[in-house]
Symmetry: C2
Subunit: 419 residues, 2 copies
């Protein structure tokens, strides 16, 4: 089957001058790739008609699909709509549905429609409008000499919603792209190179229509298995089989199937088992609690966290013994164990976790350099601590430590089940 190519054109000086990072294109690239459309080029151009026209001409010479974002606002800087009307030799006319949508939007916000925003409902006569339920600028779908052009606002959540609701489904139908199925397997606590070693033989044995991608990120390595074929059902079965084989090779490191963050996977596990958790944080400074509470519904299993930044708080609220702090220091196995055990008792939860370390960039000693971090886990069976050794980057140290704690809880729960 012949590949379908797309190009993305972003319009607006604010991207060129670095005032905003273009995250839209990466999102679009990911979604297009998923349905078998390959992005050939991404082009960011200025708010100038001649420059936009040149980019349109260049893009159509290489691709079947041209996606344009930006330049659809109500002010005079925003010229994309007029440029497209000229480019396709058509005129602007009022689109009743778009007017109704924008009127409704303003009403829901308690404002009357302004004339500038009313103008946004005038669209090139030759386009099919793409509804925008989250903003004032409708999208536009043009077909011209076998090429499809789609113009959308640059506001990320508006563009995403329009892509998901309208544009991507229409591309699938219009270009009869092959069935493409993705399976995401999320791992944590194993570096990419070790993972690759464990999966090597299996990966080599994959059929050519199934490919594996390693997508490492701060929180671990996401594996994406992509299958392409004409029979969706057969393909699904094949992929499921391969996912099972993969899972058997690295059972301890997989925390989720699909796009689920670790804190959400852990939350589901806790809810499923009817367990509650509390934290006592020093070096993570509230970030661990933030990660846990970023999951909607986390109040079902998360009771609270004591961010005991100062030693006085460790003693007063958590009951850490002053002898422990004096003898071993705040960053020590003894302290972090007391913190985890005591917060579990005080907050009356099934599980208590704790962090204490030197996040940096300063504050290290020869014995305990910056990046020396202790974490602990406590439950009814007892408590255990783990020493982490990172480097001088405060932000990364906080991030990695929270991740290590979440993973420690996950592992402890899974081991408990296996026993």
């Amino acid at each position: 089957m012949k590949a379908v190519y797309a190009e993305i054109i972003t319009v607006g000086d604010e991207i060129l001058y670095g005032q905003i990072v273009d995250t839209n294109s990466a999102w679009m690239g990911t979604e297009l790739t998923k349905i078998g459309i390959r992005v050939k080029q991404i082009t960011s151009v200025s708010d100038e008609a001649s420059h936009i026209v040149q980019a349109l001409d260049d893009a159509r010479s290489r691709a079947e699909i041209i996606l344009i974002t930006g330049g659809l606002g109500p002010t005079k800087d925003d010229i994309t709509k007029n440029v497209l009307a000229d480019y396709f030799h058509t005129e602007l006319k009022l689109d009743e549905q778009s007017l109704a949508d924008v009127t409704e939007l303003f009403k829901s916000r308690g404002y009357a429609l302004t004339e500038l925003n009313r103008q946004q409902a005038f669209l090139p006569a030759s386009c099919t409008p793409v509804r925008n339920v989250l903003g004032t600028a409708p999208g536009m779908w043009f077909e011209d000499k076998g090429k499809v052009f789609v113009s959308m606002p640059g506001v990320p959540f508006e563009m995403k919603r329009m892509m998901e609701d309208t544009v991507l489904p229409q591309f699938k139908a219009y270009f009869k792209t092959p069935h493409i199925i993705h399976k995401v397997i999320q791992t944590v606590g194993i570096p990419e190179s070790m993972l690759a070693e464990k999966l090597e033989d299996w990966e080599t044995s994959l059929s050519p229509h199934i490919r594996l991608a390693y997508l490492p990120h701060l929180g671990g390595v996401r594996l994406r298995l992509t299958g392409t074929g004409d029979n969706a059902e057969l393909l699904e079965t094949e992929l499921e089989t391969e996912v099972s084989k993969l899972s058997a090779l690295v059972p301890k490191h997989i925390f989720a199937y699909g796009e689920v963050p670790l804190e959400e996977a852990l939350g589901s596990l806790l809810k499923e088992r009817g367990l509650t958790i509390a934290a006592a944080e020093s070096c993570t400074g509230g970030y661990l609690a933030h990660r846990i509470t970023s999951v909607p519904g986390s109040s079902a299993y998360f009771m609270g966290s004591v961010v005991a930044y100062d030693n006085s708080v460790k003693m007063q609220l958590l009951g850490v013994k002053s002898e422990t702090l004096q003898q071993h220091g705040a960053v020590s196995e003894a302290t972090v164990l007391e913190m985890a055990q005591n917060v579990r008792q005080k907050l009356n939860t099934d599980i208590g976790v704790a962090t204490s370390g030197i996040a940096g960039p300063d504050g290290g000693t020869a014995e305990k350099p910056v990046g020396t971090i202790w974490i602990a886990y406590a439950d009814q069976h007892g408590a255990k601590a783990k020493l982490l050794q990172y480097n001088k980057n405060r932000q990364l140290n906080i991030e990695y430590t929270a991740l290590a704690v979440l993973n420690l809880v996950r592992q402890s729960l899974n081991i408990a089940v296996e026993e």
Copy 2:
């Protein structure tokens, strides 16, 4: 003075397929803008020789400077260097300095140099190498028919270091760009449109060589005043005068001059006054403490936070009265005031702050819909609470609430001084 134009070309399928977001170009756009070079287009192309050559030809037709990132790695996917050697009709030859650098880099990591990495020290004969002290791929500076081409690795920290150390200073010298001075003024707690209204007359009165940019972001509106001129000293004086005039127009909303986040500006204020702070968090779930502790050295003024997610924790650790919770609910002025006052007392700090609200996306009622959030501030003079009303986005609600608390503390401290 004639404007100098640059274009940026990024090479690599990983950007097109959305596996990574191109943050390099925005950074480069910002830095180039600062020295008076305008970015005309950003183009992301695939790892194909003909595609890279086409992008080079297109870019040189529009700009004097062509910056290329990516495709310099040691594997066979990485073809930028060979494409450039062909494009400029030159051959690869060993660059001794680059070989010494890469050998040293491997030695410092405890590895012997591999043949693949040794190959990276072979560079096109006609280029001037750009040193890369943080990675294995040197950069390349070419001059051809009045145009400058610079190729650098796509690894952000390597590219940035090379730009700062070598490329940007050379551009300044080579293109004799004018003096450009930027002043950043950071505001919070005032929407862009109201700010614009207050500044309108003053902005209109600005000399044409001084421009104002509004850069709104999640945490407020950054104002950037940019002056261009031939006399740096005079320009600096002019800008300082304008900054003073601006400051007088919105004195209560400016929290920092320069690129300082609100939590850091607040930290400096607390340190300066010798004050300590503690937090009691419900809906922010540790995020407020995280923001405060993301500042290095925050342990000097931040004692801790009680993340009292469950009501039992509000009562037990914070001493919130059960009658208060029963009568008014957890999300109420009475509860949040007790939380702020009690955490201040228990943790023995000068200031106590608190948050309690319905972060969403579920859990609202008719009376207290999702996004209903109370925050409070307490010090030796007493306590005050403030009601916030946001919408259903959990992440934004948490973010905005933390910001509102930081700003409430900042305002309270400034008012205390004015009195």
